[in-house]
C-alpha cells in the first residue's frame, strides 16, 4: 500500500510539473484561447460575440455558473441549446470558453 501511495504521489507531482493537472482541473482556462474557441464552435450565434446574451441564448458572463455546472449543461443542455459532446468540444476547450465569458467586462449604464 505504501508503495502504491508513493507512486500516486509521484504521479501527482509529475502531473503538476507536466501541466496535466491543467487538463483535469480545467477552471484555469485561457480567456484569449477561449475567445477563439467561442467563435469557432458557434457560441456567439446564440449568446452574442461578447457573451452578452440574446433572445436565442442567455448572457453567459461576466459571472458564469461554476465550471462543473457549465460543463454539465453544455454536454446535456435543457431547452433549445444544441448539445456539445466531448467529441466536438473538449473539456479543456470548455474551460477556455468559461475563462473567456468570465473575463467579459461589466457594463456601464447607457
Amino acid at each position: 500500500m505504501r508503495a502504491s501511495s508513493s507512486c500516486l504521489c509521484v504521479f501527482v507531482v509529475a502531473c503538476v510539473l507536466s501541466g496535466v493537472v491543467r487538463a483535469v482541473q480545467p477552471n484555469r482556462g485561457d480567456a484569449d484561447r477561449g475567445r477563439q474557441t467561442y467563435v469557432k464552435v458557434g457560441c456567439y450565434q446564440c449568446h452574442g460575440r461578447e457573451a452578452q446574451g440574446a433572445s436565442t441564448g442567455p448572457r453567459l458572463g461576466p459571472d458564469p455558473m461554476p465550471l462543473a455546472q457549465f460543463t454539465r449543461y453544455v454536454r446535456a443542455p435543457r431547452n433549445e441549446m444544441p448539445p456539445y459532446t466531448a467529441k466536438v468540444l473538449s473539456d479543456a476547450e470548455l474551460a477556455d470558453i468559461h475563462a473567456f465569458v468570465a473575463a467579459r467586462a461589466r457594463p456601464r449604464i447607457p
Binding site: 450565434q45 457573451a51 446574451g53 440574446a54 433572445s55 448572457r59 467529441k87 457594463p107 456601464r108
Partner: protein
C-alpha cells in the same frame, strides 16, 4: 370578320410571310383590308368601368409591376382615372406589390390594390399572399388573364394565360372570382372588398379578363355598381361572454394573452380597459400592438412564468393557443409538456375556427380548451368589459388592487432588468442589437413614430426598451414567416403613415432585403419617407442556428454550418445598393459610436419626405 378571325388570319399571314422570307411583315397595312375586323379603337373601354368600380370601393393605391394581361386596366387607371385614388405604385416584383399592400393595411386598416399577371405575376406574388392570409390582413388583388384561347395573341400571351388563375392561391386566399361580364366584375369586386374586410380578414382575388378590359363599351352603356356595405364584425355569443366574465372575475390569477386581437386603436383601448378593470396580467404576443409595452399590467417579458401561475388563461385571437400553454423541445429528445398548473382553465375568443382551410397547416396544434367563443376578439371586448364590470364587487376590487400592485412591481423590475441587460457589450463591434435599438429609440422617441419591422431578429429589444402605446407604433410580423416581407411591408406601412406625417422606421434584416431590393427604388421613386436601419448580421441567422443544431445533434461540430447560411465573402454594401436605387444611405457602420450621428442625418432626410437607409453591421441576434 370578327376580331377573333382577324387575329387568327393576321397571325397566319405573318407566319407565312416569315416562311417566305419575312416580306409579309414588312408590307404596310392596306387600308380597308381590316374592314370586317372588330373595332378596338374607342373612347371608352371595359377597363374604364373597372376603374369606376375600383374608385367606388375606395382603393387608394394600386401596386403593380406592369404586365400585358392588364394593360388596358393599367392604361385606364393612369388616363381615365387620372392616376388618383387609385394611384399607380410601380413595384419591381409582385411579391413586393402584395407585401406593400400588406404593410399598408396593417397601418390603415383597409386594403389597397395589387395588379399582376394571372400566371407569372401571381406566381411571384404567391408567397406574399400566403403571408397576408396567415396574418389575417386584407389585400385586394386583380390579375389579368385571357381566358378565350381564340383571343390570345400568339406567343407569350399563351404562356401568360391560364384556365383558372385563382387556383394557384385558392388554398390561402379568402375568396376569388373570375367575372365574365362587367356587371359580374362590379358585383364581385364589391363582394370581394366586403369579404376581405370581414373578420377573419384576408386576401381576395379577382380575375380581370383582358377581353373585358379592352372591349369597347356600347353606346350608352352604364355600369351599375352595387353599394358597398361592410359587415359588422361578429361578437361572441352573449351567454358565452357572460361565462367568460364570471370566470375572469372569480379567478385569483387571470392572465390575458393577445396576438392578433387589436385590429384598430379601439381594440387596444378595450383590452386596456378589460385588464385595468380586472387588474389582470396581459401578455402581448405581438401579432399587433394589443397592449402598451410599458403598462404596469404588461407581463410579456415573463410570459411563461405568468402563464404558469395562472388559474384562468384567456386567449384573444391567438395563432397558437397550444404553443402558448405548452413547451416544446426539439433537442436531445423531442418532448412537450403543459406549463399550466393543475386545474387552470383556458378560454379562447377567436375567429380561428371560422374560414379555416385544410391544405396549408398554419392552424397549429389542436388546443384543449375549457371554453371556446367564436367571435372577433376586438368586437367581443366591449361586451366582455361590460359583463366584467357588472360582476365586480367591492371585495373583488380590493383583491384586484393587490394583484395589480404585485404585477406593477414585476413590470418595473422587468424593465429595469431589460435596461441593465442592454448595457452589456455596449461598445461591442459588431454593434449589439440592444445598442442599435436604444440608439434608434433616442433618435425617434420625440416624433410620432411607427415601427414597421418585427422584433424576433433583434431579440425583441424595442418592445423591452421603448414605450409603445399607440396602435400604429407596431404592426407585428409577416404571418407566414415567408422571408422577403419586411422591406416591402415597411414601405407599404410608410406609405400609409405618410398622410399622417408619421416617421416610419424599420429594422431591416439583411437577408430579407436581398429577396427583392428593388423596393428601395419604389420608395425613392414615389417619395415614401421610411428610415431603414439595417440589421446586417451577414447571415440567414435563423437557418444558421438550425444547421448548428443539426450538426451538433449529429455529433459533427459546426465548422461547416456557415455553408449556405451566411451572406459574406463578399459582404453586401447595402448603402451602395440603396444609393444605386436613389435612396440616401450611409454605412456600413461597425463602430457603435458612429450610429447616433448617422441616424440623425438619415432622419433629417426622412423628415423631408424621402427614404433613407443606414447600414449597421450587427451581432447575430
Amino acid at each position: 370578320m370578327d376580331r377573333r378571325h382577324f387575329l387568327k388570319n393576321t397571325a397566319g399571314a405573318l407566319a407565312g410571310g416569315a416562311a417566305l422570307g419575312g416580306q409579309a411583315s414588312a408590307q404596310p397595312p392596306s387600308p380597308g383590308a381590316d374592314a370586317d375586323a372588330d373595332a378596338m379603337t374607342t373612347d371608352r373601354c371595359g377597363a374604364d368601368c373597372m376603374v369606376d368600380v375600383i374608385k367606388a370601393i375606395g382603393l387608394e393605391y394600386i401596386c403593380a409591376n406592369p404586365g400585358s394581361s392588364f394593360r388596358a386596366l393599367h392604361e385606364a387607371i393612369v388616363n381615365y382615372g387620372a392616376n388618383a385614388r387609385p394611384e399607380l405604385i410601380t413595384c419591381c416584383h409582385e411579391e413586393s406589390s402584395v407585401a406593400m399592400a400588406h404593410g399598408f393595411a396593417k397601418i390603415d386598416g383597409k386594403p389597397i390594390g395589387v395588379m399582376a399577371h394571372g400566371t407569372v405575376g401571381l406566381q411571384h406574388a404567391a408567397m406574399a399572399i400566403y403571408n397576408a392570409y396567415c396574418d389575417r390582413v386584407p389585400v385586394y388583388i386583380i390579375v389579368g388573364n385571357t381566358l378565350d384561347a381564340t383571343e390570345r395573341r400568339p406567343g407569350v400571351e399563351w404562356a401568360h394565360s391560364v384556365q383558372d388563375a385563382s387556383s394557384l392561391v385558392r388554398d390561402f386566399s379568402k375568396w376569388d372570382d373570375t367575372p365574365v361580364s362587367l356587371e359580374h366584375f362590379a358585383e364581385s369586386a364589391v363582394r370581394a372588398y366586403k369579404l376581405a374586410m370581414t373578420p377573419p380578414m384576408g386576401p381576395v382575388l379577382l380575375v380581370a379578363d383582358s377581353e373585358l378590359q379592352e372591349r369597347p363599351l356600347g353606346a350608352g352603356f352604364k355600369l351599375q355598381i352595387p353599394r358597398l356595405t361592410l359587415a359588422a364584425p361578429p361578437q361572441g355569443d352573449s351567454a358565452a361572454i357572460a361565462e367568460v366574465a364570471r370566470m375572469l372575475v372569480e379567478a385569483e390569477n387571470p392572465v390575458i394573452v393577445a396576438d392578433r386581437a387589436a385590429r384598430t386603436p379601439a381594440g387596444l383601448a378595450s383590452l386596456v380597459e378589460l385588464a385595468e378593470t380586472l387588474q389582470a396580467a396581459v401578455i402581448d404576443q405581438g401579432g399587433r400592438l394589443n397592449f402598451p409595452s410599458r403598462h404596469l399590467l404588461n407581463q410579456s417579458g415573463q410570459s411563461r412564468a405568468t402563464i404558469g401561475a395562472a388559474d384562468v388563461v384567456l386567449g384573444l385571437e391567438l395563432t397558437d393557443f397550444w404553443g402558448t400553454v405548452n413547451t416544446y423541445r426539439d433537442q436531445l429528445q423531442r418532448s412537450s409538456r403543459s406549463i399550466l398548473k393543475p386545474g387552470a382553465k383556458t378560454i379562447a375568443i377567436s375567429m380561428r375556427d371560422l374560414g379555416i382551410k385544410a391544405n396549408y397547416q398554419e392552424f397549429q396544434r389542436y388546443p384543449e380548451l375549457d371554453l371556446t367563443v367564436s367571435g372577433d376578439a376586438e368586437a367581443s371586448l366591449p361586451p366582455l368589459v361590460d359583463a366584467v364590470k357588472k360582476l365586480v364587487t367591492a371585495d373583488r376590487r380590493r383583491v384586484f388592487a393587490e394583484r395589480g400592485k404585485k404585477l406593477g412591481a414585476a413590470s418595473r423590475a422587468a424593465h429595469d432588468k431589460a435596461r441593465a441587460d442592454a448595457a452589456y457589450a455596449w461598445d461591442a463591434a459588431p454593434v449589439t442589437t440592444a445598442r442599435l435599438s436604444m440608439e434608434l429609440w433616442e433618435a425617434i422617441q420625440h416624433d410620432d413614430w411607427s415601427l414597421a419591422s418585427y422584433l424576433n431578429p433583434v431579440s425583441g429589444w424595442p418592445m423591452r426598451l421603448w414605450t409603445f402605446d399607440k396602435h400604429h407604433q407596431f404592426i407585428g410580423g409577416s404571418g407566414g414567416s415567408g422571408i422577403g416581407y419586411t422591406a416591402p411591408a415597411s414601405v407599404g406601412a410608410a406609405l400609409a403613415n405618410k398622410k399622417h406625417g408619421r416617421l416610419t422606421v424599420t429594422i431591416q434584416p439583411d437577408g430579407d432585403l436581398l429577396y427583392a431590393p428593388g423596393i428601395l427604388w419604389t420608395a425613392a421613386h414615389h417619395h415614401i419617407p421610411l428610415l431603414s436601419v439595417m440589421h446586417n448580421n451577414r447571415a440567414y441567422h435563423q437557418e444558421l442556428m438550425h444547421l448548428q443544431r443539426m450538426a451538433n445533434r449529429h455529433n459533427r461540430g459546426i465548422d461547416r454550418a456557415h455553408i449556405g447560411t451566411t451572406i459574406d465573402n463578399p459582404n453586401v454594401d447595402y448603402a451602395k445598393v440603396a444609393q444605386g436605387m436613389g435612396v440616401y444611405a450611409e454605412g456600413p457602420i461597425e463602430n457603435a459610436k458612429d450610429l447616433a450621428p448617422a441616424l440623425k442625418r438619415a432622419i433629417a432626410v426622412v423628415r423631408k419626405g424621402e427614404p433613407a437607409l443606414v447600414d449597421v453591421v450587427t451581432q447575430p441576434r
